[in-house]
């Protein structure tokens, strides 16, 4: 029996290995596909992670496109995150246009060709990429390969509670991180038992939007060295950032802070710390203005660029955003590109989307459109986006894994588990580089 089974098992194993070796193989064409003839009907499938009202906003923009190209029918499907898009690419049945809320996976999308190279299309149609800020151009490509374009941007700045500022006798938002530290202490109110009643600013890593990539621009912290390797240990900005953050954590007391944050609402709920008036200052994205308008319209707050450690950095901030591209294996790449070009570069389309979604339009032309109606509290975010100090974090082949390493390190640092900051940062660099090397050939 065993002798009979052996050849069969070998055959099965060979088949399995052959199939496994071929899985998700093949590459996409680099020749730009022509747009469909206007007399030829075509259906373009668009996947995004929008849902409900936001999906409706996208639909209205897509309807406007359809009005101009009546032969193009658009199948607009929401609630499709990066995992689903990637699975569809692996399965050989992707949408024609993919919209992703995060730039974390752009390194893989571009380097492996799972999102097609858009450069041939850009060259053919002479799209002016200079109309897109440099930081935004950076986060939509990887190692010089452009496989996506930006479709709106998120910009992070300082939110401050004007009533709490007035109660603490502070007349304007801080511009330097030193001022911010002092203001945070003044704004903090404690209960008789020493627990926190109102926090000036929450410096816990990965809590709400306090994440390394979002705070790094305030200290001019650089991610990579000149060789493209992780360079946190060689950059003074990171030491300044961690040193500043530790002072604030020590002011509150780690346990006190932990207990206070545990009782705050979820990030996008109405009782989120800043919205509930329990946190006086927060660094957050421009989209928070829409949440406040919807959930706590009576909140008396202002917005400004995030404070910086050096005066010359002030005015900028962190940006990331929604990206759009053509997955490998898309059935109608020519029609897909035409739609992508519209959504990423057409001023009217971007302004409509920005007004509806409360995001920053991602081209310089659209920033100055008189049709932008986003309110006074949104204005600082438009200014940050136009500032030369606008920054983003680099794309990586390991997605956002390196951000976790930095966050973990930050937690160990604030807990006092790491005491040698320069040594710890050097070790962190090695951890990041080793993880990146794991995916190498």
């Amino acid at each position: 029996m065993r002798a009979r089974l052996r050849p069969a098992l070998i055959l099965v194993a060979a088949g399995v290995l052959a199939t496994a070796a071929c899985t998700a193989g093949g590459g996409g064409s680099t020749e730009p596909a022509a747009a469909p003839d206007s007399s030829k009907p075509v259906t373009v499938t668009v996947w995004s992670n929008f849902a409900d009202r936001e999906l409706g906003v996208l639909k209205s923009t897509l309807d406007a496109y359809h009005g101009k190209h009546v032969n193009v029918t658009i199948d607009n499907q929401g609630s499709q995150d990066d995992d689903k898009i990637t699975q569809a690419i692996r399965g050989g049945n992707p949408p024609d246009v993919a919209i992703s809320f995060t730039t974390d996976n752009i390194g893989q999308f571009c380097s492996q060709g799972s999102w097609q190279d858009l450069q041939p299309y850009i060259d053919r149609d002479k799209v002016n990429l200079d109309d897109i800020p440099q930081a935004v151009r950076d986060y939509t490509q990887f190692n010089g390969k452009r496989c996506s374009l930006p479709m709106l941007a998120d910009v992070y700045g300082l939110y401050y509670n004007k009533d709490l500022f007035a109660a603490a006798g502070i007349s304007s938002p801080p511009k330097s991180t030193d001022e911010m530290l002092e203001d945070a202490k003044k704004l903090t109110v404690k209960n008789p038992d020493g627990s926190i009643k109102v926090a000036g600013f929450l410096p816990q890593w990965a809590f709400y939007a306090y994440k390394p990539q979002i705070v790094a621009p305030s200290f001019g912290a650089q991610w990579l060295d000149k060789d493209g390797k992780s360079g946190l240990g060689k950059d003074q900005g990171w030491q300044d950032l961690f040193g500043w953050q530790k002072k604030l954590v020590d002011f509150y007391g780690q346990d006190n802070l932990q207990k206070f944050t545990a009782g705050l609402g979820q990030e996008y709920s109405a009782d989120m710390g800043f919205q509930a008036g329990k946190v006086a200052m927060a660094i957050d994205g421009e989209f928070r203005t829409a949440f406040i308008a919807d959930q706590v319209p009576t909140l008396n707050y202002g917005t400004a660029p995030a404070p910086t450690s050096r005066p010359e950095l002030y005015g900028g901030g962190y940006t990331t955003g929604t990206i759009i591209g053509i997955p490998k294996g898309a059935k109608n790449p020519g029609a897909a590109w035409d739609l992508i070009k519209y959504l990423a570069t057409d001023t009217d389309a971007l302004v409509t989307l920005a007004n509806g979604l409360h995001n920053v339009p991602s081209t310089k032309s659209s920033l100055s459109s008189p049709n932008l109606k986003l309110g006074d509290q949104f204005k600082p975010f438009l200014d940050i986006f136009a500032n030369k100090n606008l920054a983003s974090n680099p794309a990586s082949t390991i997605g956002d894994q390196y951000l976790k390493f930095v966050s973990d390190f930050g937690t160990s640092w604030e807990n006092g588990q790491v005491t040698d900051l320069p040594g710890g940062l050097a070790k962190l660099d090695k951890q990041i580089d080793d993880a990146k090397a794991l995916g190498g050939k």
Binding site: V12, A13, V16, L17, T19, A20, A21, C22, T23, A24, G25, G26, D83, T86, I89, R90, D104, N105, Q108, Q112, G113, S114, W205, A206, F207, Y208, K211, D255, Q258, K259, F260, T261, A262, G263, L264, G265, Q266, E267, Y268, S269, T397, I398, G399, D400, Q401, L403, K404, S407, D408, T411, S412, N415, Q431, D434, A435, L438, G439, G440, K441
Partner: protein
Amino acid sequence: MTATLHSPAREQRTSPAPGKGRGRIRNRNRLWLLVFLSPWAIGLVVFFIYPLLATAYFSLTNYNGLDSANFVGLRNFVYLFTGDEIVRTAAYNTLWLVVVLTVLRVAFSLGVAAVLARVQKGGGLFRVLCYLPSLVPPVAATLTFVFVLNPQIGPVNTLLRHVGIDGPLWFNDPNLSKPALTLLTLWGSGELMIIILAALLDVPKDLYEAAQLDGAGAWTQFRRITLPTIAPVLLFGMVNSIIFALQYFTQAIVAGSVASGSADMVGNSQIIGYPNNSTLTFPVWLYQQGFRAYHMGYASAMAVVLFVVSFAFTALLIRQLRGAAHTEGARS
């Protein structure tokens, strides 16, 4: 009085057919056997053997899930055992759960089942009440527990405050997050409790009566009669609990994400394992590596190690189980 029917036709059917005819019947029987087995066999090949062999193959490659795989030998395993600092934390957390959760889950289920076995009035109602939590979907159950154990607004700490006790941080304390997860698991261990209850009710009553006549007390009866009789079921419970702990994923990822204040239920990389990676289990890190860091080859290597460990635990305990069954058989 028994009549024996002699049927020539039947004799003809059951008598061995000579030569080719016999071979044809045997082949036809085999064919039917294969036809009836095929749904199971196809499922086995497609959903078990193929993934198993593919995982073993991918563990030796730098496959990223999108591009074709490249053979890299044992590099993934070398990184797993010498380079990845977080995997050590993840392995420790899973080992903690395997040891603590297995022991407590079996002990807790046995304790509850023993009480339920003695309940005379309303026993059915209590059994239903104890079993019901196991029907709650893991995500909903975890969300509920994170709320109930919220240090500031949760009912448990509110109650403790009323009696003058400053409650712990539960899911927000790296030292208590795993015990909090254990509480959640114990609350939902109704299935094992029902299995053990069935075993307890199956213990022959005459054994207890005989022991009572011999003057054995309750503890002696439990130690000398109950435990040996239900030992195979307890061993099954241990195997089941160990595999459950080795695969601990949903509750850990949801509890960590929600307790961190994030709106991302499935967790983004930075808050996975919150607080301080104390809820980062081996399967959670495996998932992160495969689907977030695009290290599908490395994730496969982790899966191979997890498979080997699970297999070893299971084989060891099945040996014990067989031993217990043989002892039981010899005794009866």
